[in-house]
């Protein structure tokens, strides 16, 4: 089996010709499953993941001539897939996250967190995170909201015992953040 580098060299030798396209097709086909699974990991919907994976492969094919070889081809593909997926999903809010905080779903009536979020600047929320959360709570919330990581992946990265541990950590962090906001609002009155 030819290596990724050999296929790339073949593509570069004749990018518009039949052998070059065949090499590109083999190279991208070799990694298409990784791309799809990555997209599925982020969006958790097979149909959406397929659409995104198609976009990623198309973009990779169109940009292949620009690949400079500073990393493995698969790592370059990873960067394209990651960037595309991150822009395709809405980041969970710092104050509410129904997937990670099941207790939020049960709440009824006007949601005070939503009200705060409309009023408070994201920078102010980050400042409150620094002031009121401990290191692990900050990391968990950061990974969830800014890196859009799943609760399962956060569990692994933070070396927690179980997914329930990460959920509890996220819930605690959000409760502290909401309480800090409430105190701040009372102080402003």
């Amino acid at each position: 089996m030819r290596s990724d580098e050999e296929l790339l060299a073949e593509f570069r030798a004749d990018p518009d010709g039949s052998p070059g396209r065949a090499a590109a097709s083999e190279l991208l086909g070799r990694h298409q499953r990784q791309v799809y699974l990555w997209c599925h990991r982020v969006v958790r919907d097979p149909e959406r993941a397929l659409d995104l994976a198609q976009e990623v492969l198309t973009k990779a094919f169109r940009s292949m001539a620009d690949f400079e070889g500073r990393s493995r081809f698969s790592s370059w593909l990873f960067v394209i897939a990651r960037n595309r997926c991150l822009s395709a999903v809405t980041a969970p809010s710092l104050l509410r996250d129904e997937e990670a905080d099941p207790d939020q779903i049960a709440s009824s009536g006007p949601d005070p967190a939503a009200r705060y979020e409309q009023q408070v600047d994201e920078d102010a929320l980050r400042e409150l995170m620094m002031q009121h959360l401990d290191e692990q709570e900050r990391e968990a919330l950061w990974l969830r909201c800014f890196e859009r990581m799943t609760v399962e992946d956060i569990t692994r990265i933070l070396d927690l015992q179980a997914v329930s541990g990460a959920r509890a950590l996220l819930q605690r962090a959000r409760r502290k953040l909401r309480a800090a906001l409430e105190r701040r609002e009372e102080g402003d009155r």
């Binding site: 518009d16 039949s18 396209r21 065949a22 590109a24 097709s25 991208l28 086909g29 298409q32 499953r33 990784q34 791309v35 799809y36 699974l37 990555w38 599925h40 990991r41 097979p46 959406r48 993941a49 397929l50 659409d51 995104l52 994976a53 198609q54 976009e55 492969l57 198309t58 094919f61 500073r70 990393s71 493995r72 698969s74 790592s75 370059w76 990873f78 960067v79 897939a81 990651r82 822009s87 395709a88 999903v89 809405t90 979020e117 409309q118 009023q119 600047d121 994201e122 620094m130 900050r138 990391e139 950061w142 990974l143 800014f146 890196e147 990581m149 992946d153 692994r156 990265i157």
Partner: protein
């Protein structure tokens, strides 16, 4: 918590395996959630779990992606208008000279009459939507709570939509995530950072998978 300067670049991920444990970038990455998230994502991309690989939808996706690759690898069809009767030869044929003269006069009159008017126009600039005109975006509105409300007409076969934001100097500032309905309310914090203040131009793009189906004209939002 986040060290922008010391964080790993994605194209360093392969090389870092060769760095000594004392390398400052390794030391930084160990304590930086952003870098750890990137490293973990890179690892998972290269080593999906057996559960992921064995999921029932993977095989169908594989087949669809192979078909997609086959499609995009097709060379573009050659243009039929090559050779002696190419379009520019037809355009400059003697029989076309009166039409060319009329076109030239129209351009001169247009440049003399309309360009000065356009230059003195005071309303906000508007981006035109190219060849697609069937997607209509209603005038964007800012709600009392500061959120941006957008509403547009649906486009048949569109799987999702995207709101694209431009500055009044027509520089693209960013876009929303994929939107599945025909209206959305975006909190200020959900807008691209550069689009949270000042006047904006907003356009909706209808997508089907990765293909653009239609785009609205850009509507201005004066704040």
């Amino acid at each position: 918590m986040r060290n922008e300067d010391g964080c790993l670049a994605p194209d360093e991920l392969d090389a870092m395996a060769k760095w000594p444990a004392s390398d400052r970038r390794i030391v930084h990455a160990r304590n930086c959630p952003r870098c750890r998230a990137l490293i973990e994502a890179h690892r998972l991309f290269h080593a999906p779990t057996p559960e992921e690989l064995g999921a029932p939808h993977v095989e169908a996706a594989d087949a669809a992606l192979s078909a997609h690759l086959e499609r995009i690898m097709q060379p573009a069809a050659p243009s039929p208008s090559t050779g002696n009767d190419s379009w520019w030869r037809l355009l400059f044929a003697p029989a076309m000279r009166p039409a060319l003269a009329f076109a030239a006069i129209t351009i001169v009159v247009g440049a003399t009459v309309f360009v000065p008017r356009m230059l003195t126009r005071t309303s906000a600039p508007v981006l035109r939507g190219g060849s697609h005109a069937e997607l209509v975006l209603q005038a964007p509105a800012i709600r009392a709570d500061g959120a941006l409300a957008l509403r547009w007409q649906s486009v048949p076969q569109a799987t999702h939509y995207r709101a694209v934001f431009y500055s009044t100097s027509l520089e693209e500032l960013g876009h929303s995530g994929d939107l599945t309905g025909t209206q959305v309310v975006l909190m200020r914090t959900q807008l691209p950072a550069a689009a949270r203040t000042g006047d904006l131009l907003i356009r909706i793009v209808a997508m089907r998978g990765g293909d653009e189906l239609a785009r609205s004209q850009a509507e201005s939002l004066l704040r």
